[in-house]
């Protein structure tokens, strides 16, 4: 177990080094940060001086080395716009994004599992067919269209829920700005988390259905029927547990997609999270912030996949993390 975690830690460092190199190499393609920082009237000489101060005139490797030295000490640079350490800026926005993502994941699990199971055990039922049609529509229609439609229907026409922002937030444990504890916060969370969930849902419904149908064909399911077990026991104990193994793996990989979709969702709903911050940083050419965001997201990705592997080990008895140190 310890070996497994240590290996994962090394893997995480490796991933983040690669990400930082990539984000550094695209920096000067994003635009000129100085142009965004100073007024139109500032002369080219002064601009060049500022550039020198920021170290932007140094070579790529000099700049990267300076960044890397800071990064190993926990300093991912200073944001040009906020004039604060980038890590602090990002961590301040982290709770909003995590709450959004977590809610979306919970919605996906709660809805996709029963839908997938139903579609697998009663493939000819009218509801299952309907589900398949809806999920293909969901797969092909981009999330921002669905999100904007939902804003139009539920916020503008029906006036049921607010369309942007996080609403009222409360500080929990002194370090976490949470929107989950107030009614207003939950109301604000509803549409963004729902549209994020809708973006991920179709893949899971289809995956669970396909895996479950395959599992139901297996010999051990037939043997379970021959033992005279009840249908719920066969479907939800014997079949579902085996169905979930590949689904868990795909779930880990989908964490990346989730991050990408949070950027879209947060932009549409003006959700003050990391994705929204990232979009702002890109448009302001706040390159240190962009790099720091990419590194933090890389870290989150490695952590989620480690968690996913741990869960996989718990569900699948043939995997022993401790002895093999996978």
């Amino acid at each position: 177990m310890l070996i497994f975690l240590l290996r994962r830690l090394m893997q995480a460092c490796f991933v983040m080094v690669i990400i930082s190199v990539i984000s550094f190499s695209i920096q000067d393609k994003l635009g000129d940060p100085v142009q965004q920082m100073v007024a139109m009237t500032v002369s080219p000489e002064e601009r060049n001086q500022l550039r020198n101060e920021l170290g932007l005139n140094d070579g790529f490797f000099v700049q990267y080395w300076r960044f890397a030295k800071g990064a190993v000490q926990g300093d991912l640079g200073t944001s040009y716009y906020y004039k604060e350490p980038t890590l602090d800026v990002i961590l301040e926005k982290l709770p909003a994004t995590l709450e959004l993502a977590l809610c979306a994941i919970i919605i996906v699990i709660l809805v996709a599992t029963p839908c997938g199971v139903l579609a697998a055990i009663k493939p000819k039922h009218i509801l299952s067919r309907l589900l398949m049609v809806i999920s293909s529509i969901g797969l092909s229609v981009p999330i921002f269209i669905i999100a904007i439609l939902m804003v139009y229907i539920f916020s503008i026409e029906l006036n049921m829920v607010p369309s942007f922002g996080r609403g009222q937030t409360t500080e929990v444990f002194g370090l976490w700005e949470s929107g989950l504890v107030t009614k207003d916060g939950l109301k604000h969370l509803l549409l963004p988390s729902l549209s994020l969930a809708i973006a991920l849902m179709p893949i899971f419904v289809r995956l669970i259905r396909a895996e479950m149908m395959e599992v139901l064909q297996s010999e051990y399911i037939r043997f379970a029927w021959s033992k005279g077990l009840s249908a719920p026991r066969i479907y939800f104990v014997h079949a579902l547990k085996n169905t979930m193994l590949p689904v868990i793996t795909v779930g880990g990989i989908q964490a990346g997609t989730l991050v990408a979709y949070t950027i879209l969702t947060e932009t549409i709903f003006q959700w003050p999270g990391m994705g929204f911050l990232f979009m702002d940083a890109v448009s302001r050419v706040d390159t240190p912030l962009v790099s720091a965001y990419l590194i933090v997201v890389g870290g989150i990705f490695v952590i989620t996949n480690t968690l996913v592997d741990l869960i996989y080990g718990l569900v699948n008895p043939t995997v022993r993390l401790a002895s093999h140190g996978l």
Partner: protein, 327 residues
């Protein structure tokens, strides 16, 4: 009364374009404590017969007509709930490949206890005791330890023992064993077979052994049914069938045993292979492979019309002989 009586059973496969007959007019009976064997090549319909008894034929197969009676209860018309009471409790099944039969993500204990608890209302602890006792009966060493293990921690022979223990849990009247030793090592095969035989004998359990191995059958079964292309082609006491097979197919099967050939010689074989469901020959399904099959009836001209039939041929012959006598 017979424990199990199958009469005029027809099983079809429902395909898009046609109905394919997998079992045709199958009838047999099984008495309490009796051990019978169903033999035949792959595709003869042996397994389908085994599965159809407890209505477990996978789609698109279904029972078209006929009756399967357990004492006086008709099994073919039962709903799922009634069938669940029969399955496992009165008729239990052993499958071919022990590596595939146990669920990989549940412990041995879970899979044994659930069987007991789904049929009788007893506590987990009592169910566990029964399960451990049955594991002990099938000669599994340290059953308490095995109880908490997962299938992948056991060898193939051990798993088949667990499966035998699992079918014994509720003291069923009938065990249907579908090629229970085929997937096992030759050395383990004999052990498992001995165990199965001993268990059926000691508990008075009736056994339907599905096999293609006449050697196995001769050691276990009192009566044998030979199947070919969905038909039962011969039925009788195992000893009779082995010593004096009547049907050319049974003769061919026995001839194909390695013991029937001198060392170094080519093994005997039945020419050709089992017809698939879609291309079943007309008339006797075995005739294309039968060494005794006579030529197809030729078109015979009886003076007025042309007919192709054995009966007409015989009648014509008789007729001409009578004519000769009259002359």
């Amino acid at each position: 009364m017979n424990l199990l009586s199958v009469s005029h059973l027809h099983v079809n496969f429902h395909m898009k374009k046609q109905e394919l007959a997998a079992l045709i007019d199958v009838s047999f009976t099984l008495n309490r404590g009796e051990r019978i064997a169903i033999v035949g090549e792959s595709g003869a319909g042996k397994s389908i017969l085994g599965f159809s008894i407890v209505n477990l034929i996978g789609k698109p197969g279904y029972i078209e007509s006929g009756s399967i009676k357990l004492e006086n209860k008709e099994l073919t018309t039962m709903n799922l709930r009634q069938l669940q009471e029969v399955r496992g409790k009165r008729i239990a099944m052993i499958f071919q490949d022990p590596m595939m039969t146990l669920n990989p993500v549940l412990t041995i204990g879970d899979q044994l206890v659930e069987t007991i608890r789904s049929h009788t209302k007893i506590s987990y602890k009592d169910a566990r005791n029964i399960a451990i006792e049955k594991l002990h009966n099938v000669q599994i060493a340290s059953p308490e330890k095995r109880f908490d293990q997962y299938p992948h921690e056991l060898s193939g022979g051990m798993r088949q023992r667990v499966i035998i223990a699992s079918v014994l849990l509720l003291n069923p009247d009938i065990i249907i064993a579908d090629e229970p030793t085929t997937a096992l090592d030759v050395t383990i095969q004999a052990e498992i077979l001995q165990l199965l035989l001993a268990i059926c004998r000691d508990n008075g359990v009736a056994l339907i052994l599905i096999s293609h191995d006449l050697g196995v059958v001769s050691k276990v079964a009192e009566r044998t049914l030979v199947m070919y292309a969905g038909h039962i082609v011969e039925e009788g006491p195992t000893l009779e069938i082995i010593n004096d097979p009547q049907h050319p197919y049974t003769q061919g099967l026995l001839n194909a045993l390695p013991q029937m050939t001198l060392p170094g010689q080519r093994l005997n074989q039945i020419q050709g292979s089992m017809p698939s469901l879609t291309e079943r020959p007309s008339g006797c399904a075995f005739h294309p492979r039968c060494p005794y099959a006579t030529q197809k009836p030729q078109f015979i001209y009886n003076g007025v019309s042309t007919v192709a039939c054995f009966i007409i041929e015989d009648m014509l012959n008789e007729f001409s002989e009578n004519e000769k006598e009259a002359l």
